[in-house]
Symmetry: D2
Subunit: 261 residues, 4 copies
Amino acid sequence: MSTPLRITVWGENVHEKKHPAVAKVYPKGMHEAIAEGLRELGGAEVRTATLDQPEHGLTDAVLEATDVLTWWGHAAHGQVEDKIVDRVQKRVLEGMGLIVLHSGHYSKIFKRLLGTTCSLTWREAGEKERLWVCNPGHPIAQGIDRYFEIPHEEMYGEPFAIPTPDEMVFISWFQGGEVFRSGATWKRGNGKIFYFRPGHETYPTYHQKEVRRVIHNAVFWARPEGVRWIDTCPNVPIGKAVEKLTAQGESLHKPGEAGYR
Amino acid sequence: MSTPLRITVWGENVHEKKHPAVAKVYPKGMHEAIAEGLRELGGAEVRTATLDQPEHGLTDAVLEATDVLTWWGHAAHGQVEDKIVDRVQKRVLEGMGLIVLHSGHYSKIFKRLLGTTCSLTWREAGEKERLWVCNPGHPIAQGIDRYFEIPHEEMYGEPFAIPTPDEMVFISWFQGGEVFRSGATWKRGNGKIFYFRPGHETYPTYHQKEVRRVIHNAVFWARPEGVRWIDTCPNVPIGKAVEKLTAQGESLHKPGEAGYR
Amino acid sequence: MSTPLRITVWGENVHEKKHPAVAKVYPKGMHEAIAEGLRELGGAEVRTATLDQPEHGLTDAVLEATDVLTWWGHAAHGQVEDKIVDRVQKRVLEGMGLIVLHSGHYSKIFKRLLGTTCSLTWREAGEKERLWVCNPGHPIAQGIDRYFEIPHEEMYGEPFAIPTPDEMVFISWFQGGEVFRSGATWKRGNGKIFYFRPGHETYPTYHQKEVRRVIHNAVFWARPEGVRWIDTCPNVPIGKAVEKLTAQGESLHKPGEAGYR
Amino acid sequence: MSTPLRITVWGENVHEKKHPAVAKVYPKGMHEAIAEGLRELGGAEVRTATLDQPEHGLTDAVLEATDVLTWWGHAAHGQVEDKIVDRVQKRVLEGMGLIVLHSGHYSKIFKRLLGTTCSLTWREAGEKERLWVCNPGHPIAQGIDRYFEIPHEEMYGEPFAIPTPDEMVFISWFQGGEVFRSGATWKRGNGKIFYFRPGHETYPTYHQKEVRRVIHNAVFWARPEGVRWIDTCPNVPIGKAVEKLTAQGESLHKPGEAGYR
């Protein structure tokens, strides 16, 4: 692609201000570490947006100029306004890619797009996580060997209450004995969605090379294809039917009237 | 199954009171015609519930005692309270079957479970619809020949903005020249979902034998299997890890504390 | 179901005769241990069939009278005759359930139905395997707690080269550090397919209570639904078109002639 | 993409030599008309290969240098050698795109990759076909309006005995009253597969602008992504396990030995 991919990295940016342990690992905020990883691997224009900005930094203009959005949230899912979630959902259905990170499994936007609870089991013990590649030929797994390890992470375990993914890219092995579907894809409307598990706020996960590489791969994988289609539920007037028709029977709607919603 | 299947037929019951043309076709309401079809084919205990009842007739007790819910709505989707939608979604994810009928494609519950706009194109001309069976061996198509026709129906046309169905059971041919994915299935959580297109309020569709047969087949196909599982996102304390663990690194959550939502 | 489910347990029965270590664990053959587990849990009529029988024990009559077939093979995949594989495939597409066990991932019938290589990584070290339930509400997981362990098993690891499963039921954690999609479902034609990983020939896996329970659950899950449909690619003569048609243009086929294959 | 996409157009080239009606429409063969359409839209290097060439024109070297293969066959599916089908399948699983056209639904390679019979109903009456776009935002539908028509085509009707497609791009409406899933996608291994229905040999379908546009879109959609991965079922020796292991229990395989196939 000749023009750079336009990425918006969204971060809740709450823990970083409240918890010294998090601020120490991510002094500029987690979103800046994620953005830095994307910038260093190149090919994209990367901006950030956070919860405390007007409209959470996700104005119509910003989303309009975003090819792929990454999402990290945890403590403040409930503070994300529904109208912003509506707006993000609309853009995903139109074709904007969405990369949901770690505790974003419980974000409004992820649950909205998948329709399930997206729950899981968890443990915060700083244990070792090993992510196995389920398909070494997949674009999201490029540059990763057969697996990679994160020395200290929060554990997320099955059951992960999601609809069947289109593709499985990573499955995690945890030192404490659990497994988890750590990298999975879906398509909703024309938007490609990738969920990527790692990224607990107290560990330097988003500084790790392999994690940055996967997120970089993922945003390129999730770039929009085709054209933007706005699905508006149009009425096709009888006189414009492809095959000639004569109206029959009773009718509720007057000619040209919009349908109910 | 030795015990009868417990069905709740939900009807908006708005058009039937406002429009004489609808009242003439469905004097007791559309929900009663749907329920009658299910009763005459047997094997199920069928009750009805409507929008104007307290909690829209869908109390916790009713949903608890419902194996499969059928849903018809059109003019008043917006009047269905979000807390009732939450409740229905929860029961579907636990395993209750859901049969979404016709204009229910725009109901809150259908959009909530699928995550897309569920839009389509449409025309109210009383034209002929022919529904083709995509898999004659499918339980939902039993008793239907290779196709069946509805003499007068509203047209719904592609594009139908849904996630890829798990299975395609019917595709419609319309006299005016369009096609539509008229019978499609999904699973969300442990709930089986079937969308069935026919059923415009001004035509006697729910009195037609083949339509009744399909809905009857569908409720039996959608019956709960397995056990009810409530996914609660439990914490697994470090001391209860399957493999012996020692906590490492920083921690945000105190032992036993619930996670964020 | 009032009539018992008719199960055929197919076993290669080669290792059991060649290797004393296997004969010791499975003195009557692995197929008999699998059949015994199904019989003790009840509700099914269980027969066995083996490679060395005429037509590998899978005559037309046997398959005709089989609702669900289980398949274990390893050393002699190549000796299974293609015409028998054709026959089994035909019955699966008609609706017969198929449970593929362990090294059956490389059987002709599994690769034939899935279309991919079905390869994986492996290690024979007698290590511990822990199978996690991905959906505790799934019929195949009933009676299993959140996980179960097999003390000594062969390791199978990702990447497992399969098409995306319809549903994930189990994922394994291995002591040596790998993970694997150990319980997965597909539908091909009207046949339900379940792959279940455990069952290396040198360990007493098919004597273990949880393994027997899962296989028993699986055969009931995979039972045929609907009716048997034989898809024959029929010609629809012009005179029998639903909408009136007149032939136009050139034609290769004479009226009533069968198509090419 | 800076380097042109490398396309191989495979044609059976049998009807063209036997039937004057076909030769008249496709004097250079159908494969040349398909190739011409791809060439005129640009961006690709297009070669052709036919059944009567050595190795059907699909040598290792040709496939190695092919990013996307298109396949049209009808009368001579049975003459395609199994070893060539093996070779094509291997390349698809490695990531080569495959576009299967019209009567190719019964080709060995399509049935091999999908695992089902791929049967349908059919009629040769030169009737009108109208292909509706199921997702106007899809890359394969670019440049097509909401539908396009082919004045004279063979009818293919449901049931089409395929596994559920990943995405539905086109559904056809036929003048004689049938419908058909005319444009559908699957992924097998790392290869993207698109089935596109139109193209009966007695009609000038492959000279039609919209048909050429769809095939051109499809080859670009199906281009390989990621890297080529050869899945070889490797053994992981005990000494190379990620977590330290000691062998336990009996073993069939000696250290370093290959597994059975």
